[in-house]
Homo-oligomer: 300 residues x 2
C-alpha cells in the first residue's frame, strides 16, 4: 500500500466523460506508458457502482493513484466535486481536489461562471486548457475554442480562465441528423470543403440557425442545391452560427487556439480562418495529459 499513495512514482490520469473514458498511465517521469479507451461513460454507470468501476480500472492499470476529471465529478457522476468559480487557474482547481478515496483517488473540480443572471459550467475542458498553458505558456489575453458536443469558447488572461461560454452546436447537429425532418439529407460525411465554407459564411453572417436550416430542405425540393453538399453545408452553418457568438469579441486577425479532437478541430480551424482569424491547433489528449501531470505535481 505504500506505493499506492506515492504519486511521485507515477499515476493514472482519467478523462471520464458522459459517453466515453480515456485513461493514461504516466510513469515517474510523466511519460504516458499505457492508454485505455472505452465507452464506459458516466451515463452507463449507477452511482453506487463507481467504486467498483474504479477498482476494476485500477486492476487493469496497475496499483497506482488515480486522478479523475470530467463528468465523473458531476451530480450525475460518482461524487460531486463543486465547481471552482472564475477567475480560475491551475493552482485554484488543484487546491480543490475532491478525494474520493483518501490519498489514492482524487477528482478534479470543474469551473463555473456567473455573469449577471447568466450561468455557465465546464468539466474536463479546464484540464486541457491548463495543460495547453503548461505546454506553451499564454501571455495576456488568449481566446480558446474547444469544439465538441458542447463547444466552449474560453477567454484566458495568462494562465487564468477569466470567462467562457458554452454553445450546444455538436448536440444540435446530432439531434438534427438523427431525429429531424432534415435527417435523411444530413446523413453523409462532412469535410471542410466549399459547401462547408459556404455554410460557415451563411451562419457567421447571420447567426440565425433555426431560420437558415429549413432552406436546406427547401433548396433540395426546389432543385437549387445539390443533395451531396447538404451535410457539409449544414455542419458549416451550425459552426458558422457558433463562431458568430464565439468570435464576437475577437480582434481582427487574432490567433485563436483550437483545442480538442482532430476530427473537429480541423473543421473549426478551417471555419475560423475563413472568418478572418488565425488559428493554432492543439490535440486535446496531449493537453489533457500535460494538465493532469501539472495538477498531480501539486499533490506529490
Amino acid at each position: 500500500m505504500a506505493r499506492m499513495s506515492g504519486w511521485e512514482h507515477g499515476f493514472a490520469a482519467v478523462d471520464w466523460g458522459s459517453t466515453a473514458r480515456r485513461a493514461y498511465v504516466l510513469d515517474a517521469d510523466g511519460r504516458t506508458i499505457a492508454e485505455i479507451e472505452d465507452e464506459v461513460g458516466t451515463l452507463t454507470i449507477a452511482k453506487d457502482r463507481f467504486a467498483g468501476e474504479v477498482k476494476a480500472l485500477r486492476a487493469q492499470m496497475g496499483a497506482m493513484p488515480m486522478l479523475l476529471a470530467g463528468m465523473v465529478g458531476s451530480n450525475r457522476g460518482w461524487m460531486e466535486a463543486p465547481y471552482v468559480p472564475c477567475p480560475a487557474s491551475l493552482p485554484d482547481i488543484a487546491a480543490h481536489l475532491l478525494w474520493a478515496e483518501p490519498k489514492q483517488t482524487a477528482i478534479v473540480p470543474g469551473v463555473s461562471l456567473i455573469e449577471g443572471n447568466r450561468g455557465d459550467v465546464m468539466r474536463g475542458e479546464e484540464v486541457q486548457v491548463f495543460g495547453a498553458h503548461v505546454l506553451r505558456p499564454m501571455e495576456g489575453r488568449t481566446l480558446i475554442c474547444h469544439p465538441g458536443t458542447h463547444t466552449k469558447w474560453i477567454e484566458m488572461d495568462g494562465g487564468t480562465i477569466v470567462g467562457f461560454r458554452t454553445i450546444m452546436t455538436g448536440e444540435l447537429f446530432a439531434l438534427l441528423r438523427k431525429h429531424s425532418i432534415l435527417a435523411d439529407m444530413l446523413a453523409g460525411p462532412v469535410e471542410p470543403d466549399a459547401a462547408f465554407l459556404r455554410g460557415v459564411a451563411r451562419g457567421y453572417g447571420s447567426g440565425e440557425m433555426a431560420a437558415e436550416l429549413f432552406s436546406i430542405r427547401a433548396g433540395l425540393l426546389l432543385g437549387i442545391a445539390p443533395p451531396a453538399e447538404a451535410p457539409a453545408f449544414a455542419s458549416g452553418l451550425l459552426i458558422g452560427c457558433d463562431l458568430h457568438t464565439g468570435l464576437a469579441a475577437a480582434l481582427p486577425n487574432e490567433e485563436i487556439l483550437v483545442l480538442g479532437r482532430g476530427s473537429l478541430t480541423r473543421l473549426y480551424a478551417a471555419a475560423i480562418r475563413q472568418c478572418g482569424f488565425r488559428t493554432r491547433d492543439l490535440d486535446g489528449a496531449t493537453a489533457f495529459v500535460a494538465g493532469m501531470r501539472a495538477i498531480a505535481e501539486t499533490i506529490a
Copy 2:
C-alpha cells in the same frame, strides 16, 4: 354520380398534414356542417394507399367532391402538386389545382420562393393566408406570423404573398424536449408568463439560440434559476430567436397578423407584443375553411 361533380352543392375541405388530418364538410352555402379530425397524417400512409384513404374519407363524409391541401400534395404525399412561385395570389394557386381524380378530387399546390441562392416552400399555410384575406381584405403590406412546427413569416402585398421565411422553431423545441441533455428540465407546461417573457427578451435580443440554451442547464446546476421556470423560459428563448429573424423588417408598432392554432398564437402574440409590435389573432381553422371555400368557388 351527377352530384359528385357538383361543387356548387357543397364539398369537403381537407387540411392534410404530415401528422394530422382535419376535414370540413361545407354545404351549398359554405357553412361547415361536419368536421372530422384524426391522426391519419401523410407520414402514416404509403403512396399507393392514398386513393383508398380518400375513398374511406368520402364514405365517412358523404359522396361529395373533395379539395385537399397540405403535405398530401408533396413528394412524400399522394401526388406532387408543383409549387406556385412567389408572388402568388389565390387566383394563381386556384389556376394550378392538381386533379387527383377527375372533377372529384383536387389538390391545392403549395407556394415556393427563390431569392438569390436561398429557397423556401410552404404547403397548407397559403390556404389560411388567402382565407384571412377573404375574411378581411388586406391592403398594402401585411406581415403574417404563422407559428408551428415550422413557423412561417409571410409578407403580403394586398392579397398576394410576395415573400416568406420558414423557421424551424417548433421542431427544434420538440427535439430539445425529447432527445437533448435539457429534456428532463423542459418537460413542464409553457404559459406566456414572466419566465416566458424573459426568455423572449433574451432570444429577441441576441438571436443566439445554441449559445443561450446551455445556460438553462448551467443556471439550474448553479442554483441561480428556478427549475419550474425552465420550460417557459426555453420556449420564450426559441420564440424570441424566431422573432429576431421574423420581425427584423417590421416597422415599430406595426400590426402583425398571428394566424394558426390558439395554443401557439397566444404565445407568439404575447411575445410579439413584448417586442414592441401590435398583434391581431386569427384562428387558423376558420381561415382555412374560408380559403378553401374561395378556391372552390373558382371551380364551381
